[in-house]
Subunit: 390 residues, 4 copies
């Protein structure tokens, strides 16, 4: 159980690119980073509007001198200091991830980047090589897998409690884009423009969360082929999609189905995961993250609660609030940020043994997400046909 | 609201083929038929074991002389009487539906038949013509659409409360066949054998319920093309399936996805329907049939309860228990049987005006179910490819 | 599992007093009685308006000659026939229960009466003696205890699966009387008038259901003392109550609390029962009667579903729909009516051995309900003070 | 919406007494304080074991010199520094609250103290006067009222959306003390000992949360009289209670009932609040804090979700994660800590205008909790009789 004791020697000097006053995601990064004494926010290029960014950064407690107009300025300014940032989070629109990450890594700064990571697997591979060469970590903020009961699912599957996995049912839908985009906020506009969002809208924006979480729970399964059927119910979003269904065949014979949509009018349930095995199933939703359904065929259904002694060690280890007390998304993000801090610390110390078994969403996970998107788009653009997973 | 007053002049003289002591479905037929004074059980060929069938029929209150060994005997015996049966329910394995129905219709007896109706659309068309020529009704026991809140959904969609329908999400899964069939009961064995079940297992057994209910709610939508991916996780069931996913494109541009499975280990939630429109969505499950979720984008989610004055007339008209008091599947079956009785009565009296607008699951609905199955199988057998709906 | 086979030799000739066209409860009686071939509706005094009652009875299939204007006429007419009614259900306002029941018993007709049974325990005792002397049964329609999972709770408590029972938490509330009674229907008016309703409104109308169900589950516990605090939020209902809280001390040291109200605005959840033991708890609601929560301290919470093989025999024996298929209140009423029919049949045959262990809500259960009401009123009228249970 | 921008000029220098490595509650304090840049943890007397406390504090990032053995040492050490702590949180057993708080206030340090605040109202009054005289704030960690939907309830009641409040139904139960205390951890032992816990166990430990939250939602209602029935199902806990029921009469005629227990075996639902008015009701549980049920009589039930634009400003103002993303108990604590920081800042600046309307749990709220406990004990000790609220 996490109680705030620092698991690394001292706080990492941390900066942000993006995540300014008007967005939602910046606060998730900060609340994720600042609770465990593992990060100290010392610099930032928070906003395209430099004055606003500086004002904002100051209100976050960052020295005005270290509130920069651009990420280039941030790199220049911080690399010039002895106490410059060691790690920077990138919370900007998708199309900027690659160049900012690359620049940071070249400046020998660790990176924590939003998903979807980059536009292509090629870019991912290039960045992975760069990070490796420079001895740096690239973390990816798949923010939902820090929930203790996600780790519980992974541990139960690993122990064979489900038997052979047969069916994977994944859903992440909401209805916030059910109307058109005429008066949409900036965050919607760039997400529906291929130039700024990449080749997908909801597949990348929310579908990659589903896919990564399924990888965490089912690390031994690989997709062999898939079929993606996507559509823009609001025509102006085409060729990007606001709705998609993906069917997947796994290498063990399992079948997967996945649904992402931002036009599921009125739906607040959001995410739903069901992993069906030959003996039992697990079902979890981020909307009630403290409960996990464990359904053994022929027995009463069971509801497992976070923080309870009957859970696996992997789940209890990352619990923060304790049984009866609700964990929220902020707690999950804190775990993700903590795990990445531990990776950065180990990398800095050359502790490869630790890194070999340490679980966190890194460049490999980010790359797999982009690979999955590439396969989805290839299938969809070929008329929603089956494609071999490449 | 239904209070037991007879809506037809006198009870129909009713018989059963199948539905004997050892099965579950027979009781559903009887509880459906016998509550409103619209049917009187007077004859039956309840069991392949004639003596057991006679004993069973007697315990149901049927005169021993009218407990027959076979359906042929029943037809012979009953047509010889002045007070012979007017309508017979067929609750036997799939492969017998066609021949029994045909024989009954030729003997000028109305038929109420289990789903899936027959093996082919050609058989359906032939039977439809025969029924029409002989002035008879063929009802089909799609037992879930008698729930008042299913009628509520249809009425709300008809009034345009959802806007344009965009997404249809259908699921009927359970886990009772998660294990193999070595010691399976007879009802499982004939359902997994193509000779007795037809070309499908779960698609026909439970998927047709999903498809019919969606037709009731969305009568204006037609499937243009579909893709069906099916699999037998228990290999002995092949070529039939214990799991299938179907994607559908509707003529208005809507997208559908459907999941049927009997290997969803531990799943007791069973059916889930979600109809997503441009303004709002409806979600209903047969496991809590008294509640209907009505999700208007941007407003609090609403839970509608059966029997409440704010519901549409179509829903209140078929309510039996009244608000606060739970309706069960038996109540839904009673509505189905009542509606079929009213159709038979109107047919007998030549009341075509009534029949034109009277809603009940008849031969057309049964035919559409078989047509959908044929399209699913065609797609699946072609490698889970898209096929035009024919 | 119930499949409609008659458990008694022939249908009982059955009549009704009350339960006419405009009420809700009459249909519950009929649907309860008419599914299993154990009752045949042959006579009735359905309505204070004789013509309407005759018309209604005819539409139920009763011969017009046996649709009577009054219960006195019914008794006179039916006792004059060789095939007169054997049992009559009384579904009239509370103040008439005693005199109608008495007259029926004196005419040697079994009675099935609505709750609360009579106004006083003295009346109950008198009727019990009369029934005993005349060899007749008095059944009471506590309609919720026929749910299979109520029987499951009783069986689990009996097996000691809860340990020592410590806490009993009972709730039956709704909001249908949140507004005043200016335009209230007749059924509300007589229920809020002491002359027609007796000394209580919601305590008798819905509270007796809670108390009886708790007796079924906890037959070994006796109330030693109680405190009742009641209030009429709509003043015109005083001295009767639309809200009451009852605290109870049981003879084993257990503590009970009970809440009844008809001004719980918007509450549709209705009934909630929780039985807490030293090892585990059970929780059930009539609004989702197919699920039972079984909470063992320190283990995952369990949800038991009706009809599943892991349930106790007592529960499976009265299941009608089978697992996955919802049971409703109509199914529970059918069980109650069936159990009373079996009691009447045994009584008629002098089978005292059967009656000794046969479970059904009879005169003793009805009497205990009235006794509980008397104690509640005594406490409330003394200023919500503790009274010894007498 | 909260995004981490500091609402006060600079972080408060903050210390802790108690909250060491082995407890759960310390982390809640830290996670509450450290996310918004309003507190900086600079000192502590974390543990009775001085060495362990120093080690622990160091791991939290506190300078070893400022990790003290006792609270007296902390006061001595910190008051000697120019940059000494400005505010200290007291997370120690109940019996120490009074003396530690008093000493801190005398040393002119603001205090944030655990509930139940002190043993008697007299102590509370004395401390209130001391704080007032010294210009200091005493905050109380009623940690659940920081949930945005609690503020939503208060705002809706204030706007009259419920009509006249009639019924208040409060429950906080769990089963973690269902067994005896033979091997219980220290935190249970001191809580069940009158010398260290005060005059109550569960009433003070969890009941005060219920009472305070109800005060936040219903500030205009006052308890006029109450009745408390309490019991120790585990006899060694007597005279303290592990189960209690409290009935309350409010000055507007409303009725309240409250249940606290730590022997509700297997119960994980924990808290339940229902506020019933003449027009509508609100229901909320901390176990799903992101949903609020809003039940208008005669309309579909509504589920409100945190972060949605249709909510009241008071709720949106303290939202942290935004719609669709779960808030947890940590977020609620952060709001409480933030509000207290703002009070301290205003007090330091003599901004009485701000303080007059600023909402936070302070000494008055703590006092009311102790007053309620005194009344409960007085009633219980008099044999669970009604007592006028004093």
């Amino acid at each position: 159980m996490i109680n705030g004791e620092r698991t690394i020697a001292r706080p990492l000097r941390w900066g942000m690119v993006g995540g300014g006053r008007t967005g939602q995601v910046g606060y998730k990064h900060r609340t994720g980073a600042l609770r465990d004494g593992t990060y100290e926010l010392v610099a930032g290029a928070f906003d395209l509007d430099a004055a606003r960014g500086r004002d904002f950064g100051t209100m976050l407690g960052v020295n005005g001198d270290r509130c920069y107009a651009t990420y280039e300025d941030l790199i220049a300014g911080e690399t010039a200091r002895e106490d410059g940032v060691e790690v920077v989070s990138v919370a900007t629109p998708n199309f900027t991830h690659y160049e900012i990450t690359k620049s940071l890594l070249e400046a020998r700064i660790h990176v924590i980047c939003e998903k979807p990571l980059f536009f292509t697997v090629d870019e991912c591979d290039e960045i992975a090589a760069l990070a490796e060469n420079n001895g740096l970590i690239v973390g990816v903020t798949y923010g939902f897998t820090g929930h203790p009961l996600v780790q519980q699912m992974a541990a139960m599957v690993a122990k064979g409690m489900l038997g052979e996995v047969r069916i994977v049912d994944l859903q992440y839908t909401h209805g916030f884009n059910a109307g058109d985009d005429v008066d949409a906020p900036e965050a919607v506009k760039w997400r529906t423009n291929p130039k700024t969002a990449g080749a997908t809208f909801v597949l990348g924006d929310i579908g990659t969360h589903l896919y990564y979480l399924s990888e965490v729970v089912l690390p031994h399964l690989k997709v062999e082929k898939l079929l993606c059927d996507r559509k823009a119910f609001i025509p102006s979003r085409a060729p990007l999609e606001d709705h998609a269904t993906v069917l997947m065949h796994y290498d063990n014979g399992a079948r997967g189905r996945l649904w992402v949509s931002s036009v599921n009018a009125g739906n607040m349930g959001s995410q739903r995961y069901r992993f069906v095995g030959s003996k039992a199933s697990l079902e979890w939703s981020d909307s009630h993250p403290d409960q996990l359904l464990y359904d053994v065929q022929g027995e009463p259904n069971r509801i497992l609660h976070h923080g309870m002694p009957y859970l696996e060690d992997e789940s209890l280890a990352c619990d923060r609030m304790g049984a009866l007390h609700t964990e929220g998304l902020g707690d999950s993000w804190s775990n993700i940020y903590l795990w990445i801090a531990e990776a950065i610390d180990a990398k800095a110390q050359g502790d490869d043994t630790f890194l070999k078994t340490h679980h966190y969403p890194g460049i490999a996970a980010g790359t797999e997400g982009v690979r999955w998107l590439e396969n989805c788009v290839r299938s969809a653009d070929a008329g929603a046909t089956w494609v071999d997973f490449q």
